[in-house]
Symmetry: C2
């Protein structure tokens, strides 16, 4: 299943460079990693890489569909290699933890809006906001729970 990084780059028409390989591997090894984490990981693999090269590499990879960019509100962009399977994300409002979840309905019903207004929709991004078990436990004041109820 897992094609090698150089292979993926090559088959996407991208030049194969040490930086891109490192970035791609970093994203693969650290799903949902931020640019900083990716840069850090890549750096530990090839010694040095500039911040801009990381941005550039990620942009190229996203453009080619090898990597998916997730940009939750109030958080820097994150990246993952799990593409093309229409899964969604679950984010904790408190600690920012991000988890993958499969599409609620199985495949892609929510991929099609009721009225598309003539748009050419290519992606449906679904983000579930809430609080993770840890944060729920840690703030055990069911009384003082500032009512986020809708």
């Amino acid at each position: 299943m897992t094609s090698s990084a150089p292979d993926l780059l090559r088959s996407s028409g991208l030049h194969v460079t040490a930086q891109r390989i490192a970035v791609l591997r970093a994203v693969t090894d650290h799903p949902h990693a931020t640019v900083e984490v990716v840069a850090d990981t890549a750096r530990s693999e090839i010694g040095a890489i500039s911040r801009q090269s990381v941005y550039d590499a990620l942009a190229a990879l996203v453009d080619k569909g090898l990597v998916r960019r997730i940009q939750p509100a109030g958080s820097p962009a994150r990246f993952e290699t799990r593409v093309g399977d229409n899964h969604h994300h679950l984010i904790c409002r408190d600690c920012g933890t991000l988890l993958d979840v499969d599409c609620a309905v199985g495949y892609t019903p929510c991929l099609t809006p009721a009225q598309d207004a003539g748009f050419e929709v290519d992606e449906a991004e679904v983000v579930y906001w809430g609080r993770c078990p840890d944060c729920i436990t840690n703030s055990t004041t069911p009384d003082n729970q500032e009512d986020h109820s809708v």
Copy 2:
């Protein structure tokens, strides 16, 4: 249903100030407005308001559930007063146009992830990414799609 701005503020336990009224009206009049637009609109109504006051007022309104914050990737935060009806958004990747769309399935099936991992989910945000009719028309090169040169 349409309570006046001062009324809404009052019933939410917020102090009624000219700034907040102006901000609330601005959001009501300009759905999906950015902070800048809100500030500008409010400013034209009451003469002057600081940027921070706008941020603060919006934060207070969001906190009280009078206003909903939308923060699409690659775009500054936007705000709308249409809350509590589980509608989603359709965004054009090219020009950033943002439209409301009703939930694809009618009510809230997509509000519940398949596996919630113990999370306490309070909101499901759905964003459809694509290209609006105008942008599709303008870049009539279905062959050379990646023509971002505008």
